[in-house]
Each structure stands twice: as structure tokens, then as C-alpha cells.
Amino acid sequence: MSNIEFAHSWVLLLLPLALLPLLRGRKDTLAYSSLFWLPRDRAGQLAAAFGKAFAVTAMASIIVALAGPGRPESQVLRTGQGAEIMVLMDRSRSMDLRMMPSDWRTIDPIIRTQQAWHRGPQKSKTARDLLSQFIAERSDDRFSLMFFSGGPLLAVPFTQRDVVLQAGITAAGIGVGLNETNVGRALLTAIEAFDDRPYSGSRIILLVSDGGAHLNARTRNRIAAGLARNRIALYWLYLRSINSPALDIEDPRTEIAPEIALHRFFQTLRTPYRAYQAEVEEDLARAVADVGKQQNLPLDYVEHIPRRDYAPYFLGVAAFSCFMLLVYRVLQLRSWT
């Protein structure tokens, strides 16, 4: 509240106009032959003074409101518990498919595929619900939200504002997904997002995806170097659907599957890495809760406080003054007859 800046300070040059009501206009007075024999009336003088004051206030506050007063954008250093978490969420079309029903092991394998298409919740919906709950619970963490399919799309930069994050998550549910999954590019962009941020607490990239990709050697090197440089831990919530391989298969022939290849690559990283394989909804919930437990370190961060506009207050004052002027006008005697 201490410092106020004006968006259009030249408008303040008009402020002397607010003194116009103090000039002697003739229109609003009734001519009277001789005032000296009438009684002096303190209440009337007060009413006239208030009338003029309201007129001046109305004009002055309109002019000030036009000048656009506001508290300038500022930065505040805050300390919190927790981590900086970059949620990297897959928006490819496969995420629109269903999760496996919780009793899938008991279903006859012949109809399992069909069951999996029609039963169970949508993967992206489940992921979104859980993430939104996760974010809502961890109010001390700072989250950033990035979607990817063919390319990355930063939805919400790092912030602690729950409302913005929830809106971002909701936005992820709009429309259908695209048909590509470019994990390499998305990861690189997510790592870059940490680049120019001071290290103020533990950093996590939470990759929410149902598929992997083969990464070329150059990309792999850049990802490994980036994670090491920015000291980022990588958590992979792997939403396993039907016909997808499990991550923990030891068989070397499964290298061909992109998910396994990605998992193997992540395992070679020097930075911390954890994979959570979620087949059914409950697995996913458990995985999210586990991530929550992992990171609870003090966190310093700078928060941008956006510019705050004071114009509505001035307009409110002006509206009130105008209303009072209207009342004054109604009370005013305008002719002798």
C-alpha cells in the first residue's frame, strides 16, 4: 500500500478540473431579493459544503481512476516446506483411453482387451483428479504444469497459487489428445525451465505418461547432463494400460519396447530416479502419495506479486459521490412555485 504508481500519470494534469464545482455557477441557485433578513442556517451551510465536497470528490476520483493508480508489480521472497515440482503430463491420445479395471487379473484374457476398452476410468481423467488432489494437499510446494505430446506446452509456470494450477489441470481435460509422444523434447524443455531459477530447494520432474519413446544418443546425453546440472530428481508415473509392458521385466528382449527403453535409460542416470508403475487407479493413488512423502525440504523462492489496480476503489468512491449528489439534487429546491 505504501507506493502507488500511475499507469497514465499525465491524466493527473486534469485534476484542477475537480475544482470546477467550487466556481460560482448561477444555474443551481435560486435568486432571492435580499438575504440579509433571512436567518442564518448552519445545517444548510453544512449541506451546501457537503454538496460541493461530493462534487469535487466525484470529479477528482474519476480523474484519479482514469490515471490508473495501482501498486506496482513486486517480488517477495518466501520460504516454504517442500519442493519445486514440474508436472510433465502426457496429453497424447493414448491417455484418453481407460485404465485397467481393478479386477483385471480375474478377467478372462480373451475378453480382457475388450473389457479394458470399456470399463474403468479414463487415464487422463484419473491422473488429473489425482494430480489436482495432490496439488491441493501440498500447498507448500511450488508447482509448474507442462503438457506435452508432439511438443511441450507450458501451461502454468512455477507458482503456489492453487487456483491457477487447478485451472491448468482442468484445462488439460479439454478436447482430445494428439497422437504423438515426444518425451525427449518435453523433458529437455522441462529441464530448461529450471535453468535460470536459483536453487532454493529440491527439484522434481514428475512425468505422467503412459508410454515412452526411443531417444537418440544426443538427446539422452543432454537430458542426463541437464538433470545433473539442475539437480533434478525424476519421478515417472507410468500409467500402464493393456498391452503395455511392465517396467520391471528383466528380459533383455523387451528393450525394443519404448517404455522399457526409457526406463532403462532413466536408470542409468546419476540423478535420483524413481518409477511408479500404475496399472489400476489405486496404484496411481499410491504412487502419488509416495511422491508426496519423498520431498519435504525447506524451499526458498521468489514470488511475483502482480500489479494491483486501485482504480475500482476510486471509481467506487466516485459512484458513491455521484449518488450523494443525486440525493442532494432531489432534495434541492429549484423554483419558488
Binding site: 460560482r24 448561477r26 443551481d28 441557485t29 435560486l30 435568486a31 432571492y32 431579493s33 435580499s34 438575504l35 440579509f36 433578513w37 433571512l38 436567518p39 442564518r40 442556517d41 445545517a43 444548510g44 451551510q45 449541506a47 451546501a48 454538496g51 442532494y328 432534495l331 434541492q332 429546491l333 423554483s335 419558488w336 412555485t337
Partner: protein, 283 residues
Amino acid sequence: MSAQQEFHYRLSRRVGGHRPGAHAGTSLGTGLEFAAHVSLFDRPDPRRLDVRASLRSNRDEWLVRVSRQRAGIALHALVDVSASMSFGAPRSKLHIAADFVEALGFSAFRMGDLFGMLAFDSEERTDLYAPARLSRGASSVAAEKLRTLETTRAGVAGLEQVAARVARQGLVFLVSDFHFPLPQLTLALDFLAHADVVPIVIWDAAETEPPTRNAIAPLEDVESGSRRTLWLRPSLRARWRSAVEMRRAEIEGYFGARSIRPFFVEDGRFDADAMSRYFFEVV
């Protein structure tokens, strides 16, 4: 214009002047009022010879009856045309003054007296001057001038000039709203010491009676330009009325000290019958 209003007036004292008229005069001449017996040698008019008085006379001389002649007078209306007189709703005070002037001129003509009008604000208004004369239409012209007058100037300083010009015997009507400090009248009334002065106090109903609506009234004085805002409410109305009564008492007291009774016109029209009654009561 409605039917011509007429009122009857008379003077409290004898007036001089050789023009015959309707008022008790001081000059001798033809008349029914016996004044004295004088010697035929002093007044050689054998038609007025009084035989009885001559026989009774000790000095054995012929006496002639001498009587007083009734005199005609001049009536002057001194009309205040300062800006405050333009106030009034629905008719301005100046209109009421014009009605009075018209009735005065008509009455004067009927009595065989001269009618003249002088107007003043901060100085004498020679453009409204009507010299005293015996004329049936002079007052209508003068009244019409008053009705169409645009008044803007403040002050009554011209009163002394016009009073000096009519400072002789006769009847002088001082037509004003008397919205000025009364001591300003003193010099003018001294000039008019030989005349019978009748102050006609014209007040508009809007001045004496506050508006009935409870409202905020921002008022501006038409003469001084000063402003005052009143919040009309019952207590203020009472103060307003008492202020008017105080002013009335003040005016009556001021003129009463000179044995003059003011005549108030307050109900928006000039009442000639009330004017006649005034003269019956006062004189």
C-alpha cells in the same frame, strides 16, 4: 388589465399653492372656508362685503369676508427599481409597483392633482422620469415602463437625489421593498420633511412565507450576489417567519419615530380599497 383601481387620499395638513384643487390650502381665495374679515381698502372686493360684521365693527369701517381656497397638490411616486424589486413569483414586485403607480395616477387625475414619478436605484433613473402633470394617461405610460424594465443594478443611493427634487409640500409615495439598511433613508426623509410621505412596502409572498417543501434551498442575493444555503424544515420556517416579523416591526418602528405609518402590500396585488382605508385611519 382589469378595471382601473382608484383610491381616496387626503393630506394631514394644509398645503400652499395657488392652483385650485381638492385639498385644504393655506392660500386665500375663492372658497367656502371662512378665514377672516379684512378692510375693504385692503381687499377691494365689494362682492364679499359683510354688512353685519361691518356694523358690529368698532372701527367703523367696511369689512370684506376672506375665505381660503382649496388647493391642488402634486403626487409623486418614488419607485425603487433596484434588482431586488424584480423578484417575485408569479408577478414581480415591480409589477405590483406598476399597478400601484397606475392606480395612483388615475386617482390623482380624478382628484385634479398632478401625478409624477421618479425612479431610482444606485442613482436617479432619468429614463423613467415622469414630470408632475395633470394627465389621464401619464401613469399608464409610467407603469408600462416599470413592467417592461430589466433591473440589474443594486443599491438605493439614488433615493436622496430624487427626494431632493420633490422636496416640497405634497404627497410622496416611497415605493420599495425596503431591503436595505433603514438609516440610508434618513437623509431622504429629512429632505421630504414638508411633504406627507407614505412608504409603500411591497413584499412578495415568496419572501415572507417560506416554501412548504422540506428541501435544501441554495439562495443567491440578486443585489449583493452573496449566497446562503438553507435547509428548509419546520424550525427554520419558524425562524424565517419571525425574521420577517422582526423586519416588519423594525420598519414600523423606524417610520413611527417620524409619525409615518408604512403601508404593506404583501399578498401579491395592490388593493386600492386598503389604500383608501389607510388614509382614513392615518389622516
